[in-house]
């Protein structure tokens, strides 16, 4: 039994949530329906039984009682009065006729009532099948016998009444009274019988009521039980669901946290990598311009070096020819010293440029640009590029000299490359215009190298973007320049293509780089 119950519980437990709720709904609605039907039945049964008890039984009893009363009071009293000659025969006859009429009427209606004994279907059904109707009080034969006796007595009394005449004797009166008394007795027994029937009926009703109540209670109990069980199942289900969800959420949260942590690590790593990359990029740019500068130094050194070599050798040849005179030596030594001094100055220039001098200093923008032009002079000369510097308003700025110089070198190198590849030797011009606009220093670098192609224009400041042949550029120069101007000097750098009368009123396609630097940060 317990196993089965457990199995059932397990079965219910295993049911899906959907079926559990269906079950709950089904049981609650079924139980409710049961309860409603049963309560309806009990109400109707009780009502019908009341009807029977109070309407039929009571009425029939009243009718019988009436008949009895009429016999005892009207007929007997009238006969007694008639016997004592207090009323005449005519009056007696009238009263007796009236009494007889009443009796007949009541009797007929009583008889009709007992015949019309139909019951409500449902209670009949219940009484028939569910309870065993206790009919031991009911005895149709006895009742019929009593009724027949009453009918016979009635007829006898009627005959007697008809026979009532002036010549009535004592015996007939006593006989008559006896008959009336006997009929009263019969009537009383019939009443008793009917009463017992009513009591029986009442018992049955009680029984039906009890059964209905029991059924109701059982059904209520079942509904209650099932509701509770199913509710508990559903609650369990919810709990499980809740638990599993909670666990899931915990898992997910943990996962998220882990992800978050790893992301944080990743981000910090990426950030540091980015920083490293930036540093490397700066270094690369430095190296790139170092290379360019080295090229410059090499060029600027080659010539004096060649001359000095020649001077040294000239001593030897003059010596071997015996033509080495003091004047010659003096002259040559002077020349050599001059050349060596020149070389030393060149080195100094570049050394200054590359010194990691990160200190802000006060310097003239004009000097800075002139110096930058000087540093790239050799290449510019070689490519026959004319640099025009127009300083409309020179001013002292407080900034990073070397970095700014670096930017100008980059721009000049860029212009140089454009000019070399696009313009013939006689028209290569770079124009640098310095001006002051409100609180900004504005430097325009213009070259007539034909401008920058539209598809390249948005990308010129991107790192590693280069249009030049691999060996010519690293693609870092302009990116570096932008970084220096924007990050270190809080300025702006932009470029566009313009048409400009750069020389002799002749219009050229030019590219224009504009640098804006705030004059004072304070």
């Amino acid at each position: 039994m317990k196993n089965k119950f457990n199995a059932l519980l397990a079965y219910f437990n295993d049911l899906s949530f959907k079926y559990k709720t269906y079950f709950l709904i089904f049981i609650i609605s079924g139980g409710m329906l049961c309860i409603i039907i049963l309560s309806q039945i009990s109400i109707f049964t009780i009502k019908q039984d009341f009807d029977i008890l109070f309407d039929e039984r009571t009425r029939s009893l009243i009718q019988l009682e009436n008949i009895k009363d009429v016999y005892q009071v009207n007929i007997q009293n009238t006969l007694i009065d008639f016997e004592k000659k207090q009323i005449n025969i005519q009056q007696t006859n009238e009263i007796l006729d009236l009494a007889q009429e009443i009796i007949n009427k009541n009797w007929i209606s009583y008889k009709n009532q007992t015949k019309a004994d139909n019951r409500e279907f449902l209670s009949t059904f219940i009484k028939l099948f569910i309870i065993k109707e206790e009919n031991y009080y009911e005895n149709e034969a006895l009742r019929n016998a009593i009724m027949e006796n009453i009918s016979n007595k009635m007829q006898l009394i009627n005959q007697n009444i008809i026979n009532i005449n002036s010549n009535m004797d004592e015996i007939s009166f006593s006989n008559f009274n006896f008959q009336i008394n006997s009929i009263s007795i019969y009537l009383t027994s019939l009443i008793n019988y009917d009463l017992s029937l009513a009591i029986n009926e009442k018992h049955n009703t009680d029984k039906v009521f009890k059964i209905i109540v029991i059924f109701s209670i059982i059904s209520i109990f079942i509904v209650f039980l099932f509701s509770i069980i199913l509710s508990s199942f559903i609650i369990n289900h919810f709990k499980q669901l809740h638990n599993s969800l909670e666990e899931k959420i915990k898992d997910k949260t943990k996962e998220l946290q882990r992800l978050n942590n790893s992301l944080e690590i990743k981000i910090s790593r990426e950030v540091s990598q980015n920083r490293k990359k930036d540093i490397i990029m700066f270094q690369q740019a430095r190296f790139a311009s170092l290379g360019e500068m080295l090229n410059n130094i090499a060029h600027q050194w080659r010539q004096p070096l060649g001359s000095i070599t020649m001077i040294i050798q000239s001593f030897q040849t003059k010596m071997s020819l015996g033509k080495l005179t003091p004047t010659f030596v003096d002259e040559k030594v002077n020349d050599a010293l001059l050349l060596a001094n020149n070389m030393s100055n060149t080195l100094e220039d570049f050394k200054n440029f590359f010194s990691p001098n990160k200190i802000k200093s006060e310097f003239s923008i004009k000097n800075c640009i002139e110096h930058s032009i000087e540093l790239s002079k050799y290449l510019l000369n070689q490519e026959n590029i004319i640099v025009i510097l127009k300083v409309r308003k020179d001013m002292e700025i407080h900034s990073y000299y070397n970095e700014l110089s670096h930017v100008f070198l980059n721009l000049i190198a860029n212009s140089k490359d454009a000019l070399c590849s696009n313009v013939n030797k006689n028209d290569r011009i770079i124009k640098i215009i310095v001006n002051k606009f409100k609180k900004h220093l504005v430097i325009n670098v213009i070259d007539n190298g034909g401008g920058i192609p539209q598809n390249v224009l948005p990308k010129v400041f991107e790192p590693y973007y280069t249009t030049k042949y691999k060996s010519a550029g690293t693609g870092i120069g302009l990116y570096m320049s932008k970084q220096i101007i924007e990050k270190h000097m809080f300025g702006e750098i932009s470029c566009k293509n313009i048409s400009h009368k750069i020389k002799d009123d002749k219009v050229f396609d030019c590219s224009l780089f504009t640098i804006k630097i705030p004059i004072s940060l304070d």
Partner: protein, 220 residues
């Protein structure tokens, strides 16, 4: 220091094209001791001027000149049918220039800084054929002059003997062979051979075979 006979340079004029003033001056100072005349110029225009007006035997040119190119200059003068040996100097070891130089049949290519010995050597190398050519022409003239004033038949036979020498300086022939080629009397021929034998120039090794002794010529 100087192995080659640089004295041969003394008779030649050099055009030196170099845009670096210092180098031009110092190199010229050195070179002027070795050559007849040095025309030191800074531009191709000046160089062309010199070429048209002066006798130039060799050109020394830098490749990278201000606004121009030594190779272009050489091309230009070659296109004008002026063929003068040239030496290029350059700081560039660029193969592009080298290829151009080879195409132009430049005589030498000197990388800066200039080693004066190397420059003089290559000048010598360039100019030597000119000197030799001169020398040969001179000798020819001498021989021709001598043959004009002496017996021309004997000179012709000497020529024939020298031309017929084999690898070991041996001359193989009989008098009859020679007499068949030249209309010369036998006594004259015998006298000639005898003279040569006396002076140790042509020594009889065996029958019909003579050795030509070059060293004997030095002692005459």
């Amino acid at each position: 220091m100087i192995n080659k006979d640089l004295n041969i340079l003394r008779n030649f004029n050099v055009l030196y094209l170099e845009d670096d003033e210092n180098l031009l001056k110092h190199t010229s100072d050195v070179l002027e001791d070795f050559v007849n005349n040095i025309f030191a110029v800074k531009t191709s225009k000046e160089a062309l001027d010199v070429l048209l007006n002066k006798k130039v035997d060799v050109i020394i040119s830098d490749i990278l000149l201000k606004d121009e190119n030594g190779i272009d200059f050489l091309k230009h003068i070659q296109s004008k049918n002026i063929h003068i040996p040239a030496i290029l100097t350059t700081a560039h070891t660029d193969t592009n220039y080298l290829l151009d130089a080879i195409k132009l049949k430049v005589d030498n290519y000197i990388v800066k800084p200039i080693n004066i010995k190397e420059l003089l050597d290559s000048l010598h190398d360039v100019l030597l054929p000119l000197v030799q050519e001169k020398e040969i022409r001179k000798n020819k003239n001498v021989i021709k002059t001598i043959s004009a004033i002496t017996d021309s038949k004997q000179v012709e036979i000497v020529k024939y003997i020298i031309n017929s020498l084999d690898k070991e300086n041996l001359f193989i022939a009989s008098y009859t062979d020679i007499m068949e080629n030249f209309s010369i009397s036998k006594p004259t021929l015998i006298k000639l051979f005898k003279d040569l034998a006396e002076k140790n120039i042509l020594i009889k090794v065996q029958h019909k075979t003579y050795r030509f002794n070059e060293n004997a010529l030095e002692n005459i």
